[in-house]
Amino acid sequence: MPFCRLIPCLDVDAGRVVKGVRFRDLRDMGDPVELAARYSAQGADELVFLDVTATLEARRALLDVVGDIADRIGIPLTVGGALRTLDDAQAFLLAGADKVAINTAAVEHPALITQLAERYGAQAVVVAIDAAGGQVRTHAGTRATGMSAPDWARTAVACGAGELLLTSIDADGTQNGYDLALTESVAAAVDVPVIASGGAGTPAHVAAALEVTQAALVASLVHTREDGVRWLRDELRAQGVTLRDV
């Protein structure tokens, strides 16, 4: 694609946007619907909404939040985190998500990727991969799988994944920059779009990731400023990154 994609990520816990460091020490960042609407208005290219809560009651409330976001934004919305079954995915897609992201469930049941792609099209199926030291981890980063990230990426795509969301646990929330070596290894292994995630601390970090894979997730970097997305877009364009006109 001619334009790079800048994708703010909302990690949502108990109805609030939170952000941690290496998947821990979560801090409150605001209301998900308000943040989503603001980012859309400021020129985000897509949004990712990750449910990091575990309880069932909170899950049902999240369907309403996803619907409220879909009503307010005019850009694509990916929803993920704790999606386990075809029915979970269907519920989020009907609530207003354009794509669903599956992670642990995809590793445990790769057939779920295929079933989702057959029913909704590959463009709606994102496989989220969390990696530490180049190895895939599941259950919010707590369990090792013994698979290398590029190997699992190839398998996921063969099963029908239309896009990969690759998060470096080592880099996540550190603001020290994306794990470019990990990103390169996965982007080279597959022929679907790959979104780099984890570690953005400066516009230069984001620009470097966009050189590798043309799509980058950002969180802390835009959550901490009122004009976060607009500011980051301007900074990136000043550094020569090709973004659409808003």
């Binding site: 001619p2 994609r5 619907g67 897609l93 057959e118 022929d191 779009p193 659409r244 808003v246």
Partner: protein, 183 residues
Amino acid sequence: MSVAVVDYGAGNVRSLLAALRRIGLEATLTREPRDVDAADHLILPGVGSAASAMRTLRETGVDAALRTRFARGAPVLGICLGMQLAVDGTEEDGGVECLGLVRGRAERLRDRRVPRMGWARVDPGGDAFYFAHSYGVVSPATVATSEGLAAMVRKDAFWGTQFHPEKSGAAGERFLRECLSAA
């Protein structure tokens, strides 16, 4: 003005309904042939895969209603897969015969990364719109392109867009307003 959106029973149509609401139109979801025929404007959205979508259209009788509607010159907007369903056939799902309202075929994209996912300029006009597709239409009815691919087709009162106006921000809302007021 009444706007009906064809309901395949799978995937996200809420963002389309929300985008229509933002430009002041309250649309109804339907899979009833008589609603498909009677609405002032009809939208065939872009969700699911070609084989399952065509199966739903046939099982509900919406395919015949769409042909009747098209033949009498009533407006239809097909979005993404909805545009690909309007041509003669697609390579998707091992080959699927489509509605044949517009001459052409949908073929697998040959880009470095497929699905082709993200924002791209559409000409004429020059605005950027959001695309998410693995197949592209090759048709003599092409009226706008994006990176050499068909971005829009038009035949009589049928408008098809490969991009998703409902996910294309302000440019998408402008397009929907123009398209639906032309009806």
